[in-house]
């Protein structure tokens, strides 16, 4: 469904992504793990067109999308939940969700369909319905994360890009959010690319994973294999620390 071929991205002179190649199949949940600065967020921003690649090719359903503006990419069915949630703080929950459907307004039946989609989001996150008139900035971190995901879903994406949904949240809330992601895949067949610091939770949810280091893919494979991999265990799962020190 999505294929990145030899993607290179620069921030000014900084070479952030070096020949990244990866792929996602229909309905898959794939996770990118790696330390800070490994390029996980940059990969998502490159796919969504926010920081375009300077070389390489991105194919979405066999169509090249690497030269498109972000709004065109959203229209094709790729939605991003940006890092740090980035809900629109001075706007209400409802307004935030309506903005998620920004590009779908022009069609004639929008009012009914958008209302229906909003109901679906409320079904996934009942907490948002209770707070539909509240300003997004006054909600807790977990609720804001739910809103950010709900906002992305309002665009009816085929592929959802999630940037560290667990950041700064209580373990229980993280569990709730991950359960919703699982449900999304099962009920609507949404493909998910998940960037996470919380490698353990991410690998548990995902089918496959890529491990990144300083802008390169250093390891890829099925999630359960990665979970057993000694290098991954040491660097990202925090296991066997003692052995490493004793060596």
């Amino acid at each position: 469904m999505l294929r990145l071929k030899n993607i290179n991205t620069y921030y000014g002179k900084v070479h952030a992504l070096k020949n990244i190649s990866l792929h996602l199949g229909q309905g898959e949940i794939v996770t990118l793990i790696g330390a800070n600065g490994a390029g996980k967020t940059t990969i998502l921003n490159t796919i969504s067109g926010v920081t375009p690649a300077s070389a390489g090719e991105i194919l979405f359903n066999k169509e090249p999308v690497s030269a498109l503006q972000p709004d065109r990419i959203v229209k094709l069915g790729i939605s991003q939940v940006p890092e740090g949630r980035q809900v629109f703080k001075p706007l209400s929950v409802e307004d935030n969700l309506e903005l998620g459907a920004y590009l779908r307004y022009r069609s004639r039946e929008w009012k009914a369909t958008i209302h229906k989609d909003m109901k679906q989001v409320f079904e996934l996150f009942p907490r948002l319905e209770e707070r539909r008139k509240q300003l997004a900035g006054t909600m807790s971190g977990g609720e804001q994360q739910m809103l950010a995901i709900g906002r992305a879903l309002m665009a009816n994406p085929k592929l959802l890009l999630l940037d560290e949904p667990s950041m700064g949240l209580a373990p229980l809330v993280v569990q709730e959010i991950f359960r919703v992601l699982e449900r999304l895949r099962q009920e609507s067949g949404t493909t998910i690319l998940l960037v996470e610091q919380n490698a353990k939770a991410a690998l548990k949810l995902a089918d496959r994973g890529y491990v990144l280091e300083t802008g390169k893919v250093i390891l890829e494979g099925a999630a359960d294999e990665l979970m057993e991999n000694a290098e991954v265990k040491r660097a990202y799962l925090g296991k066997d620390k003692k052995e490493m020190w004793e060596r």
Partner: protein, 319 residues
Amino acid sequence: MKRELIKFICFSLFVMLMPSFFKGGYLMNVLVFVGINTMLAIALNLLLGYAGQISLGHAGFFGLGAYLSGIMTVTYGWNPWQAMPVAAIAVGCLAYLIGFPILKLKGHYLAMATLGIGIIIYIVFNETYDLTGGPSGLSGIPNLELGGIVFDTDVKNYYLIWTFTLAVVLFSINLANSRVGRALRAVHDSEVAARVVGVNARLLKVQVFALSAVLSSLAGSLYAHTMTFISPASFGFNFSVELLTMVVIGGLGSVYGSFLGAALLTLLPEFLRSANDYDIIIYGGLLVIMVMFMPGGLVRGIPDLFKKVFKTKGGADHA
């Protein structure tokens, strides 16, 4: 939406009944300026308060509207009603072209760039002597005329200007509550997030910049046709800053706030005239106090003040 409509109707009635309290006189003339400044403050507020993009050059667009209207009617003998829209379209196109490169800039850098544009326009007014009359100005600009009525007195001009101003108010409220208005506030709050929900932030910023310039140009044309005389001094950097002050004091992101800000900053110097040389100190002091104690602007500060006053007097049921 219904509440907005009622608010607007009350505001219109207030504006239209105003002259019956004064019966002409000097204050009417000042109130005409309140109308023009309200229009300008709303134009700038769309850009600054909603989209979050600063401009220190709006006096330039105001001046361009005035001068284009003036030159077309005085030098080329056009009808003012033709000159006004042509000027507005020309200024809009210019702002659109300027907007693409400069709105990539953010914060202080955008302030500098727009400041530069304002100054360039000001210099052009001063130096293109053959066209604008240079520093001594352009005079003999015809009044507007409609169905045999010539708008040549303060009272007539009051109704003329405020009709336009009310139209701008209504338009802006509609815009602010539309899908586009939400998108503007989204760009203001987080440009990255706005882009990933599919808002073409770059284009939207340029469009609102151009719209803001068009409204400023319209205000400029009206100014020229009511004053019948214009000179570069009215369109300098000082006035750009004054407009910015109106928007901030009135309340960012509020159409009626822009009216309050424009009204206060236009009327205050008139009332302080009796303080002679101290007026500028009092004026400055009041602005500082208002920014300190009403950080949300007059439009939010005044209701808060009322609530506080009534609460301390035991009228807790008020709010």
